[in-house]
Structure formats: structure tokens, C-alpha cells
């Protein structure tokens, strides 16, 4: 049935392993030794894809994603004639995990792309008015394509770091106006202006029993009861997306301020990476 959302098949995991994993998590222990609110090791390489206008490779533990930005020219939306556009797309190619079949983005990929899109869009990170070339006629379009290379959980945060870092490293080709046509002079470039103060990032939590933890691995995602992603920019919440399960009011009250707190240290890591662009393409 086309376009119907279907209850997902649970990952095949021996019952004993599932139960023991849940039990140790509820005792505050994670199988990789992290604390409940610790991120995995993060590595970010920006600017190493030479054919892209901006790019970033992000390692979040064993999760690996790559984001590339291509700048194009398009017609503005009628209700925002003086603003450029941002389009975020996420693909999960079959190289990323043994369970992934080739095909167009499924509902999970579409959901992640849309949440990352909303987080960036509402953060104030990009000045959409600065992307206007001729009001009502020609604007810059920022196409952000995120590809998952290795899926070990928390694709939201990895994809958002990659998209944000790729945009921060983007240079805009100069727009040349000839009569009524606009073309891009790809050899003449200026950096895309971004507001690093409002760097958009998501913070993803998983709930197992009554325990809440951040940055779940794929194994933790497979045994958790509920998952929630919070988009943060500076001190504001700019997106929320609950996926599985149900939450209490207290859960929400605990996670929202925690997300703002965790955001600060995650932001430091991303900003440091932005200051040292990579020439070599290292996957």
C-alpha cells in the first residue's frame, strides 16, 4: 500500500540479550562504558569534498555520515519573494547497514531530513534574505544532501552536525545577471554568511524503562521504549520530534533543559572543527 506508515518489524535480537541490555541500562550502565549523558567520540572533517560547495564528514562513535552542499539558482516561493531556499535530503544507501534495501528515502529517512531541516530553518543560523539575487525572480537554493555511510544509531544528531558543519563551510559562487538570466560563476566565491552564535544542533535521547540517556547506539535504539530529538539553537528550542513510545510530563520537563545543557558542549566541538578545515578526504 503506497504511502502508508506501517508498524516496524522489531530488530531480531535474542530475548535474553534484549532483557539483559535493558536491565544494565536501567542500572545506569551502558555497554560501551559511557555515562547516561555522555556523547560518543565525535570527529568532524569539513570542506574535504572538493566537488561540493560545502561538505562535512561526521563520525559519532561508529556512526558515519557525510553531507554535501550544492548551491543552485531557483525561483523564490511566492510568500517569501526575497528569501533563498534550503532543501535537506537524507539517504540511507545499502552500504550503511546489512538491513537496508536500496530504494528512495523511506519514512525514517524523510523524517530525519525534515527534523534537521526544521532545526536549521528556525535557528536563525542562515539569513535567508542574504540568498536573494533578484527579488521575486532569482534566489540561491542550498541543497543539502546527507548520506549515511555507517549506521550505528543516533542518525539525527550525526546528520544535523554534518548538515550544519557543511553549511558553515559553504562558499557561494557569484551570481552573474545577464539580461533576464542568472548563471553561477563557480570560480568566484564568497563564504556563505552564517550566524555561528545560533548554531543549530539536535540532541537525541532514548528512554529505557525509567532511564533516560543521550546519543543512543543502534543497539540501544533497538531496545529502547521511546526516543525524542530536541533541536536547539543558542538557548532556544527550535524543534522537537518524539518518535517511538510515550513520555510522561516529567520526562519532557527533564529532557528539555538537559538538551540545552548538552547543546553547549556539543556546540564547542563543532565550532572547533569548523576552524580547521580538511584538505584530505578521510572517511
Amino acid at each position: 500500500m503506497y504511502s502508508v506508515s506501517i508498524t516496524t518489524q522489531p530488530e531480531i535480537l535474542p530475548q535474553l540479550r534484549r532483557e539483559s541490555l535493558r536491565r544494565i541500562i536501567e542500572q545506569g550502565v551502558r555497554s560501551d562504558g559511557r555515562g547516561k549523558f555522555d556523547y560518543r567520540k565525535i570527529a568532524i572533517h569539513v570542506g574535504s569534498v572538493r566537488t561540493a560547495d560545502g561538505s562535512a564528514i561526521v563520525h559519532l562513535g561508529n556512526t558515519k555520515v557525510i553531507a554535501g552542499v550544492k548551491v543552485g539558482i531557483g525561483v523564490p516561493f511566492p510568500d517569501t519573494p526575497d528569501e533563498g531556499a534550503l532543501i535537506v535530503n537524507l539517504e540511507m544507501p545499502p552500504i550503511a547497514a546489512p538491513t537496508i534495501e536500496p530504494g528512495p528515502p523511506d519514512e525514517n529517512a524523510i523524517e530525519i531530513a525534515r527534523v534537521v531541516d526544521r532545526t536549521i530553518r528556525h535557528s536563525g543560523f542562515i539569513d535567508f534574505k542574504s540568498l536573494c539575487i533578484v527579488p521575486g525572480k532569482h534566489v540561491y537554493m542550498l541543497w543539502v544532501d546527507v548520506y549515511v555511510l555507517n549506521h550505528d544509531g543516533n542518525l539525527y544528531d550525526a546528520a544535523c552536525i554534518a548538515a550544519t558543519a557543511a553549511l558553515a563551510s559553504t562558499t557561494l559562487p557569484r551570481a552573474v545577471i545577464e539580461q533576464d538570466q542568472v548563471r553561477l560563476a563557480r570560480e568566484e566565491r564568497a563564504p556563505l554568511k552564517v550566524n555561528v552564535d545560533a548554531l543549530p544542533l539536535t540532541i537525541t535521547f532514548a528512554k529505557v524503562g525509567n532511564t533516560i540517556l543521550v546519543d543512543p547506539t543502534l543497539e540501544e535504539e533497538n531496545v529502547c521504549d521511546s526516543k525524542i530529538t530536541v533541536g536547539v539553537a543558542k538557548d532556544k528550542i527550535v524543534a522537537i520530534q518524539k518518535t517511538d513510545g510515550a513520555l510522561t510530563r516529567d520526562n519532557i520537563g527533564q529532557m528539555i533543559p538537559k538538551a540545552v545543557e548538552l547543546y553547549r558542549s556539543l556546540r564547542e566541538i563543532v565550532i572547533n572543527a569548523l576552524q580547521s578545515p580538511h584538505r584530505e578526504l578521510i572517511i
Binding site: 500500500m1 503506497y2 504511502s3 502508508v4 506508515s5 506501517i6 508498524t7 518489524q9 510568500d79 519514512e107 525514517n108 524523510i110 523524517e111 531530513a113 525534515r114 526544521r118 530553518r121 528556525h122 536563525g124 525524542i228 539553537a233 538557548d235 532556544k236 528550542i237 527550535v238 524543534a239 522537537i240 520530534q241 518524539k242 518518535t243 517511538d244 513510545g245 510515550a246 513520555l247 510522561t248 510530563r249 519532557i252 520537563g253 528539555i256 533543559p257 540545552v260
Partner: protein, 262 residues
Amino acid sequence: MSSQPTLIDLSKITSPAELRRIMHDLAREGKRIDGRAPDQMRPIRMEVGILSNADGSALVTYGDTVAIAAVYGPREVHPRHLALPDRAILRVRYHMTPFSTPDERKRPEPTRREIEISKVIRQALEPVVLLEQFPRTTIDVFIEILQADGSTRVASITAASLALADAGIPMKDLVLGVSVGKIGDLIIVDLNRYEDAYGDGDMPIAIMYNKGLVTLLQADGQWSPEEIMRGVELAYKAAESIYRAARDVIKSKYVEAAKTTQ
């Protein structure tokens, strides 16, 4: 075209910028463009059993937003490999009719937005339906938006919940949908299309009323953590009135049924 009492004459407004400004000016006085109080829902209408072919069905309106939901099942799953050995699967489709928006015709094929909304509605319903009572079957929930005036996904959840109850499918609770938003510093419930388009934030929420659990939570715009919590509180308050109306509709259906079978 709006049937809502309006505080201002929308036909005299010439630009989105002007509407945005008027909305924000009103919000500073705690007012909304349709004259509602911040915590006031639009008029709600609910009916069940509106489609004779479906096992359960419902119509829910929040003001000018009209959602209908049909439930088919529990029934056999095709293709069979989708079936789960220990419980039913839930299949949900949220769809907007091409004539449901006031501007241009919406193309009928599903958009990325509709695919995402179908998924979040499924995950808002899964925690309440006792799927384990019907292994190897599917419970299909189909939703069509006939008129869109903001808050369509949350009206859909309330409609789906009623249709499931109408189908007699055992549930842990009723789940009710309500949207919360903000205009400037004003936190409001049940956004209409203007508040959705020109406000500063939108937070759709679904609540299992008796258990007090949140099964759908999304947000966009810009919120402080404290505003998020105020919004959640408002949603709980609004869910209570929606719950009462929903319970009464289901109850009266069974009272009617009892009368005619005596």
C-alpha cells in the same frame, strides 16, 4: 469563508506582513485574530459511525478543520510477510484532499510532509492500541483531511482515536490531539491556519488522557524551555475538554445501540 467569529476583517488585509504585525499587536494584549482566549479551542464537532463500510469511523472538526478517519480491521495482512507473529500491525495513512486548502489545488500524490505525518500519527496511536490481542493481523487507519485550517494532524489523531473506539478495538486509553503555538510571548492552543503560518512556533501534542502520557510531541519555531513546559500544560488542559466530548460521543453511540436492540 471562515465560519469563525473574527476580531478583524481578514478581507481588508493586503499582505502577510500586515497580518503578522496585527497578530503580534493583538497577542501583546492577550488576544487572537478570531477573538478567542489563548487557551480556548475552536468549536469541536465529533461524530462516529459515519461510514457504513468501515469497521469504525469518525468525523472530527476543530473550527474549520475537518478530518475523517476510517478503521478497517483487525483483518488479514497482504502482503503476508508484513504480519507480526505476536501482535497486529498498525497501518496509518494521513492524506489531504486536493480541495482541502484555500489556495491552489494540492496535488493528490503523498508529499514528504504527509509521509512524515502518517508516521508520527502511527506512533501516536501504537502506545494505546492493544495490538498484542490480534496477532498476524493488520488494523488500518485511513485519514482524509476535507478542510484544512490549521491543526490537521492533531484533529486527525482525535478522529483516529474515535474511529478505533467505534470499531470496538480494545485500547488502553483515548488519545487526543491538540496543537499549541506561540505568537510573540503569548502561548495559545488550537492554531488556525494564520496562527500556524505567521506565528513564532507550533507544537502539536497528543495525550493519553487517563494515563497522562504524551504520544505525539513535535515542535518548530523558537521556544524557551519554560515556554515549552507552559505549552505542555496548556495542552493537558485542552485535552480534558476534548476527552469529555469524545467519551460522550462514544457513550451515546452505545446508548443508542442498546435502545434499538431492545
